[in-house]
Amino acid sequence: MTVAATSSTRQRAHVPQTSMFLRMIYRAAVLRRGRALSALVAVCVAAAVSTALLTLQFDARAKLQREFRNYGANIIVAAKDGTSLPLDAPARVDSLLQGRGAWAPFGFVVARTPSGEAIVVAGTNFARARELDQYWSVSAWPVESPCLQPPCAVPALLGVRAAKAFPDHTQSLALTFQGRAIQLATAGTVQTGGAEDSRIYVPLADFTAWTGLSLSTIEIEASGSTAEINTTLDSLTRALPDAEVRPVRRIVEGQARVLSRAGSTMLASALLVVLTAALCVLSTLMGWLFDRRRDFAIMKAIGASDRLLNSFFLVESAALGLAGALPGFLLGLGVAAWISRANFHSALTPRISVLPMVVGGSVIVTLLAAMFPVSRLHRLQPAAILRGE
């Protein structure tokens, strides 16, 4: 027996071992195609589901964050004690944000109507206000056009309650502030259910020309996570030491709360699904390997060492894991892209960092699946398996 084993080892040393090894793996995949294919499909689907969920898990937070921008400003920069903000404040805010958010300047005065009623008039930049306050329901935005033939009526946006208070708002409206008059031409109305409904909005340039006052407030919607918003808040405080910079806690805290809850639910669900997929692969593969205990017994009977058998089954499983994970990854990306389009109406940013996770995870699961049957088969005598016990 010892002699035979030694001679067979010596014999095997002559034939190219790697090619035999590869051939065995290849034949294992080709013969019993059905079982191998079902194991491959299981790995592939599990990898696809995991890829889709992990990609979405990362993507959804960013996408959801973007939805919160519709709540409008989450940071307010206001002049201290009713003064105006420094003239370069908008420029500083703009350079700090670098496009990661929106902002709009506002200046406020209390003006009088001809009948002596008080009304808040706000000067702003309509284009910026439109971008910042997407929840405003505006019938028609005023168009800011240079006045070619003075005197021109100033285009204005009327709050719905202000509009109701002046039933003749359809044409024009005359207002006075500290004895100075302005002629407004109503372009449209704004409805929010808030303080805006009682105001009149005019272009900031006309506002300054009329009242002699500059902007007193900049409303900022800083996008990003709570931590990023806090960073923006800090740098704004440093950049504008004379102004009061404060977060709109209602919005910032609400966003953090909803995002973290929704994110945790997504994560918990994703983990559940990934776990189920992994278990599915595990059970399929274990069944497949148990099924091949005869191959195992024959190999062992004709003198294969335990190490060779171990590496044969482990390499085979790892190859299956790889072969299933790669198409699964691509399939999963496709599914995630489709979900992203269906749910968020925007394209998905594929994350390469998910690839090692999915491939690594698949190989680990397939190796785990191989380890259990192999260790059990080791304890069995080949003769017993061959006899069908």
Binding site: V45, T192, G193, R249, A262, S264, C280
Partner: protein, 421 residues
């Protein structure tokens, strides 16, 4: 004999049955939990979205314009019209009263406060903190602690019926007020029970029980506006139509949908001389976020169902495959294909039902756990999920085992017994 075969099969193949059973149970657990989470998430996120504040405001119908700059009202507090505090419980009389999570009346007033530098004018805001009120037989608690969850108090919240009040943090810093201090407001001493931080205009004000503000204003029972926090359905095109243009069944459908608009409309009808309106900043966006989260969870649930179905059918295929020899023996003894197949299907069905029930219970526990871990409130599994899950598990199990059963039954017993399949 048939029953005995099934019974013996379960008795003698405990390990194998346990393995297949646990695969089915696991699949059903995940499916149940995910269906529960996906159906419950809307309600949960809707409640979380209430942390953005009230979504409906009720104002007097004939109110003068607000003079509000930077959140600070410069309108004289006595100007304009008021609502009656005694009408407020009517908020709970509307069709969607279960959706009203809370409301907080507001009454701005002003008073002079004695400081070291002499008397100073301060704004005083009267409101409910956690005020009990009753409508019909119900006694409920409402106030800013429900509707304004971002308000933080260092110290203690005052009693609604008492004389204590809160000082906004900026005002407190300026006048050097600490929790427990006494301030003299309009000649009367009041204890400051806590320092309030809100991030808006209230930081510069005193916030008091509404009765105190009414007294300062000299208008007993008056309320300036009421903020209502309601669970609403996401806004769609139908929500935005003017109810006056609707008739008959269409009007009823609009009225009986919990849109912010229709709840506001009902509140306006319920509270005399009032005007109610959705606060667009809050109500508009809820729908979008809710729809996104729900949509996402729905798709994840589909993925979960798919993964569970695969697990179950893979396990079943394995189980059937392992029983070729048994099938061969039965066939060699003269069993007809149909009887062998019906035996295997009966076993499968029994196993599936038992395992699904276990899985359903585990899934309920899991959903409960997810709910309490993440949202601090439990997610309940609707009873209707049970038949759905049972049916799904049945279909998947049968589908998973059908091909394997067919193969096992059609195989020549000789090959099966020789183990050469």
């Amino acid at each position: 004999m048939f029953a005995r075969l099934v019974y013996e099969s379960f008795r003698r193949q405990k390990r194998r049955k346990l393995l297949a059973g646990s695969a089915i149970a696991l699949g059903v657990t995940v499916a149940t939990a995910m269906i529960a989470v996906a159906t419950g998430i809307g309600d949960k996120i809707n409640r979380e979205l209430r942390s953005f504040g009230s979504n409906i405001v009720i104002t007097p119908q004939e109110d003068s314009l607000d003079l509000d700059v930077g959140g600070v009202s410069i309108k004289p507090p006595s100007d304009g019209a008021f609502l009656r505090e005694s009408d407020l419980p009517l908020i709970k009389s509307i069709f969607w009263h279960h959706n009203i999570l809370g409301f907080a009346p507001m009454l701005p007033a002003s008073a002079t406060i004695e400081t070291i530098q002499g008397p100073q004018a301060v704004a005083v805001l009267g409101t409910y903190f956690a005020h009990p009120y009753s409508y019909g037989k119900e006694t409920l608690i409402t106030g800013v602690r429900t509707t304004h969850p971002w308000w933080r108090v260092e110290g203690a919240w005052p009693e609604d019926g008492g004389h204590d009040l809160l000082a906004g943090e900026k005002l407190a810093a300026r006048l050097n007020i600490k929790p427990g201090d006494t301030v003299t407001l309009a000649g009367t001493a009041h204890r400051v029970s806590g320092i309030l931080s809100t991030g808006s205009a209230e930081d510069d004000e005193l916030v008091a029980p509404i009765a105190l503000a009414q007294e300062l204003l000299g208008r007993p029972g008056a309320v300036r506006r009421v903020f209502v926090s309601a669970l609403t359905k996401p806004e769609d095109a139908f929500a935005r139509v003017d109810p006056k243009t609707l008739q008959g069944a269409v009007y009823d459908r609009w009225y009986c949908s919990p849109y912010a608009q229709s709840i506001a409309y009902q509140l306006q009808q319920a509270v005399p001389n009032s005007h109610a309106e959705p606060i667009r900043q809050v109500s508009q966006n809820e729908g979008v976020i809710l729809a996104r989260v729900e949509g996402l969870l729905l798709l994840v649930t589909i993925a979960a169902l798919l993964a569970s179905a695969l697990t179950v059918s893979a396990a079943m295929a394995n189980t059937m495959f392992e029983r070729r020899a048994e099938v061969g023996l039965m066939k060699a003894l003269g069993a007809a294909n149909a009887s062998v197949a019906s035996l295997l299907f009966a076993e499968t069905a029994l196993l599936c039902t038992l395992a699904s029930l276990v899985g359903f219970v585990l899934g309920t526990v899991l959903a409960h756990e997810i709910g309490s871990r993440i949202f601090g409130s439990h997610i309940s599994v609707q009873p209707v999920v049970l038949p759905v899950v049972l049916l799904l598990a049945g279909v998947v199990t049968v589908a998973g085992s059908a091909a394997a059963i067919r193969r096992a039954v059609q195989m020549d017993p000789v090959f099966a017994l020789r183990g050469a399949a």
